[in-house]
């Protein structure tokens, strides 16, 4: 089954130059840059949920922002149905790709009522709609995300975190996009509410047939919602696979460490054995070879240079680890 991908991310890189002082410029000291994305390639099929996981600073949010148009990548390209995304006008792009943000407390303009917020989106993008039509559409959007339209004349502060995330989703869906980038949409929510939002996203995806890029650090959540998962570390994708493959047979040592670090909510399975030591290296000067080589329990000399290529271990399971290349050394699940 070959479905044409909706989005194709090809070798995208993004850096953030660090400001230099005038003296440094005069002294011709080298520029320092933060490599947020280093050659990321991914693709998204219609109707699927792609999970992107990684710890803080791995570049997963930068990737989401590149897709939504908040950042412009320097290298590589992002294709929308084979057309470069950079060729598409801002307004058109916003009708295709929308975004839900992490922080329900800062993602809504505190000075606009919910009705004003949704109305504005419709007003800007569908100028032909009458105000009555817009009012009806606002109500139906709110109902769609499980909120009572009776609340629409309130300001955001009157709502709880979960409700605000619903409003954010309604706002994003007002444009009927095909792709929703959800950047840590539930990480600020309590477990009970988190489940509500996850269910909502799931049902909306099914109902509207949209694709979701679900960015999160919580592996359990990603595992639950995603069809495929990409694991990121230090600006690179280290492993991608279908969800069950990845969680059932993780091949990259980082993925393994990550999985083993999740505290299992079962007192009978106590597995608090520390998988990896240390913390993320300085992203301003990442290791020249495998990004994980500074912490990897299986590190070898060969890991330290150059950056390992992707290895396709079959069934769309890609791993960026030299040990995966050597068939003699298969990693136990």
């Amino acid at each position: 089954m070959l479905i044409e991908p909706l989005l194709e991310i090809r070798d995208v890189s993004k850096t953030f130059p660090q400001p230099r002082t005038l003296l440094e410029v005069l002294a011709r000291q080298p520029k320092r840059t933060l490599h947020a994305l280093r050659g990321v390639s991914l693709m998204l099929r219609p109707g699927e949920t792609l999970g992107i996981v990684g710890e803080s600073g791995c570049g997963k949010s930068t990737l989401g922002r590149c897709l939504a148009g908040l950042h412009t990548p320097e290298g590589g390209e992002i294709l929308w149905r084979r057309q470069p995304l950079s060729d598409i006008r801002r307004a058109d792009r916003s009708r295709r790709i929308q975004m839900v943000f992490q922080d329900p407390y800062s993602s809504l303009n505190p000075r606009m009522t919910i009705a004003q917020m949704l109305d504005e989106v419709l007003f800007v993008h569908a100028p032909s709609m009458s105000s009555a039509e817009r009012r009806d559409r606002t109500d139906s959007l709110l109902q769609m995300v499980g909120l009572s339209p009776g609340l629409k004349n309130r300001l955001p502060h009157a709502f709880s975190g979960g409700q605000r995330q619903r409003i954010s989703i309604a706002r994003a869906l007002a444009l009927e996009p095909e792709v929703l980038v959800a950047d840590e949409p539930v990480s600020a929510l309590d477990v009970s509410v988190q489940a509500q939002i996850i269910n909502l996203l799931e049902s909306l995806r099914e109902k509207l047939g949209i694709s979701i890029i679900f960015i999160a650090h919580d592996l359990n959540v990603v595992r639950h919602i995603s069809h495929r998962v990409a694991v990121m570390y230090l600006g690179q994708i280290v492993e991608t696979a279908a969800t069950e493959t990845l969680f059932g047979n993780p091949q990259h040592p980082y993925t393994q460490a990550l999985l083993s670090a999740i505290p299992v909510p079962d007192p009978d399975i106590r597995s608090l054995q520390v998988g990896v030591q240390g913390e993320l290296p300085d992203p301003l000067s990442p290791p020249p070879g495998c990004g994980f080589s500074t912490r990897c329990p299986f590190v070898m000399d060969k890991c330290e240079k150059p950056i390992p290529e992707f290895f396709d271990s079959g069934g769309e399971h890609h791993v960026r680890c030299i040990r995966a290349h050597s068939s003699t050394f298969s990693v136990p699940a």
């Binding site: 922002r65 939504a68 148009g69 908040l70 801002r90 307004a91 058109d92 792009r93 916003s94 009708r95 790709i97 929308q98 975004m99 943000f101 992490q102 922080d103 407390y105 800062s106 993602s107 809504l108 303009n109 505190p110 000075r111 606009m112 009522t113 504005e120 989106v121 800007v124 993008h125 004349n153 309130r154 300001l155 955001p156 502060h157 009157a158 954010s168 706002r171 994003a172 444009l175």
Partner: protein
């Protein structure tokens, strides 16, 4: 039916003692400025050497000055003058400075860098030095004073608003507006501006006090509003020579300035609370 937003505002206002008191005092001030002149029927400019330096009493509530002019009438007339000056010298720079700060902060890049360098440079000139140099070089007049103040004060507003814009730009609701494909003008006007302007408004209240102090200091140096136009600072400057024998001549305009100071400090604090969004 009252909208929930309006009701919330009303509740917020009803709990905001600073704002209520400040508005009350401002109302009283405006009332005094417009009603006293009618009520007391003394000409603030009428010179009468025979009734010079009469202490406060039944006929002259605040006494008379050395030229026999009624101090109350002059304080009230001066209030009008000062409020006009303040309105121009504060409001115009507020609009100009906020706009520049908003656009500069939002656009960023080279425009912002250049503009902020200019602001840095202008900022290095002490307020009084710049104003005195401008007024001194152009000659003392109300118009030149407006010009000098406007040239100097906008910097503060630009700095304040720009700083806030840089913070707001990082807020997710501004990013959401960008992702929603809104035009930059719309984002600036509807999403950024309402959320960054509060500190500028609050500073505007403080600036009223600073401006009155500036105007009066210029008057004291003989570079501000020129007599016989009544102005609080000039009145104090004129009255300070006989502060022992005619304390009322400079006391009442002094009190008027302090009154305005308290009024606008309360208004500033009150507006800060009132305009800050909840949550």
């Amino acid at each position: 039916m009252i909208s929930p937003v309006a009701r919330e505002r009303w509740i917020k206002f009803s709990r905001n003692l600073n704002l209520q008191l400040g508005l009350f005092m401002l109302g009283l001030l405006v009332f005094a400025i417009f009603v006293f002149p009618v009520l007391i029927a003394h000409d603030p400019l009428a010179v009468d050497f025979d009734s010079a330096l009469i202490p406060p009493g039944a006929d002259h509530w605040f006494g008379t000055d050395d030229l026999g002019r009624d101090v109350l009438a002059r304080v009230a007339a001066a209030g009008l003058v000062d409020l006009q000056v303040v309105t121009v010298c504060v409001f115009v720079p507020f609009v100009i400075g906020s706009t520049i700060g908003l656009v500069s902060g939002y656009i960023g890049g080279v425009v912002d860098t250049l503009l902020m360098r200019l602001v840095d440079i202008l900022w290095a000139f002490p307020f009084y030095v710049l104003v005195i140099s401008i007024v001194g070089a152009l000659g003392p007049s109300v118009g030149n004073m407006y010009l000098a103040f406007s040239m100097v004060v906008w910097i503060s507003f630009a700095r304040i608003v720009r700083g806030e814009v840089l913070l707001a730009k990082r807020q997710e609701y501004v990013q959401a507006a960008q992702v929603l494909g809104f035009s930059h003008i719309r984002i600036m006007a509807r999403h950024v501006l309402p959320n960054v302007i509060t500190p500028a408004i609050v500073f505007m209240m403080a600036d009223v006090v600073l401006t009155i102090l500036g105007v009066t200091s210029l008057g004291f140096l003989g570079l501000g509003i020129q007599p016989p136009t009544p102005e609080w600072g000039v009145m104090i400057a004129e009255g300070r020579n006989f502060i022992l024998d005619g304390w009322w001549v400079s006391l009442f305009p002094g009190l008027a300035i302090v009154y305005v100071g308290i009024t606008f400090t309360l208004l500033g604090d009150g507006l800060d609370d009132f305009l800050r969004p909840k949550g």
